[in-house]
Point group: C2
Chain length 231, copies 2
DNA sequence: GCGACAATTATGTATAGACATTATTGCGAA
DNA sequence: TTCGCAATAATGTCTATACATAATTGTCGC
């Protein structure tokens, strides 16, 4: 038995649901009936249904039975890899240049009232500016960053390797570069750019806020939704 | 016992990991030790650890034990709600105007070699153009769209309510509006726009391809990552 | 010393049974 | 009719046990 029985039960119902054989809102067989169909114990059925529940495909209601959920909003998986790795994966030379680094008391936003390290820099791919970023890192949450060598490694890469986070919000929108930004990116003012603003936390504790402005022609985000969840 | 024992075990280890008490790469107690700590059976411990495994917090290796995973790439959940619903949620009046509808044989791309319905239109929020879209819908996969009333409802909304899909790819990038696009959106040529290109499938069968161009000031995408997965 | 093989130890999966929980259903009384 | 309560049928959780599986560890032979 290469594939576990519980897993094959899960797959069977996943297939029936995704194919439309089991329509949204329709009732699945009872656990007793599924036991009989697959010739296994109720615990095994229950575990398979629990997995489908956490995957969001079905809903279990006591006394009433188990139902296929009706489709809601699309939730897609957005991969946000490390920028240095992503540039390297395209076969380009990656470089980061830091042009601002100072400690300050943050007045507003996500890190308001905390001492933070304020970092600014430019990401280059093959010597061409790809993006500029402006970042605040909480010194309370990440004291070690005060001693980090951020000239060699971008702050994002350093944080990714040194600081685990548990929660993040990202806003993605298009905007025109203002004169200073255009200058830094080698564009004309008003040129289209992709802007990504991200705030991260570990538990309730804010870690960092970053605003990255990408040259439109040099960057795109890719999101995927598929049966496996991620792929 | 309001909270199930297995769940409290799961929470206990989640807390210890997120707080850093259990560092990435470190070994958890064996299932036997956890049994003793919580005074329960091994199945209950195993179920709690299974949940943490699917949540991606720990890794279980036979013979070796259970370990806290090291942080990897960021995978965030991108909410892609229906545009009409999203505009309505902001308290604005939503309208869609269809200005192209014809059947054609698709030459290239995702739907190459299929007969498809080619649709073009504009999304308005409070009477102002918000986005233009250009869409191909496979007539083989979705024959019913030939009879749909797409003047009242946007093609995206119609598809969302009538056609389940199982797989989708999305590209997100910034671009400048070309003269025709700028005209349709009431912008100057070259003005920054957010472009979303999406291809969807049901199983192996392509359903639709769409390119949506948003006025930069009117739209942003929001992605989230958190312990709950979605929130 | 060093490689191959066996023993050990840990997780992976499954069964069978028990009791808890809870929403529905139906019946009886006001 | 309608309100409320009890019976019921379904899922939720847990125990105790068994065997499978796989990687590390130790040992034996060379």
């Amino acid at each position: 038995m290469t594939v576990p029985l519980g897993e094959s039960i899960r797959q069977s119902f996943e297939r029936r649901i995704l194919s439309g054989e089991l329509a949204p809102g329709s009732r699945l067989p009872t656990e007793q009936e599924i036991m009989a169909e697959f010739g296994c114990s109720r615990m095994t059925v229950s575990k398979a249904l629990s997995a489908l529940t956490t995957a969001g495909l079905i809903e279990r209601r006591k006394r009433a039975g188990t139902f296929v959920v009706r489709p809601r909003v699309h939730a897609m998986v957005l991969e946000v890899p490390d920028l240095a790795a992503q540039v390297a994966a395209r076969g380009q030379a990656y470089r980061f240049r830091l042009h601002r680094r100072n400690e300050e008391m943050v007045q507003d936003g996500h890190l308001a009232g905390q001492r933070a390290l304020h970092l600014g820099g430019t990401h280059f791919a093959d010597g061409e500016p790809l993006a500029i970023e402006d970042r605040l890192v909480s010194l309370a949450a990440v004291p070690a960053i005060a001693d980090a060598d951020l000239a060699a490694e971008s702050p994002g890469t350093w944080l990714l390797h040194h600081v685990p986070w548990t929660e993040a919000d990202t806003r993605i929108f298009a905007t025109g570069a203002n004169p200073a930004e255009a200058e830094a990116l080698g564009l004309n003012p008003g040129a289209p750019c992709l802007c990504i603003e991200r705030r991260t936390w570990r538990g309730d504790e804010p870690i960092t806020t970053v605003r990255q402005l990408f040259v439109a022609s040099g960057y795109e985000l890719v999101a995927h939704f598929g049966p496996g969840g991620a792929s």
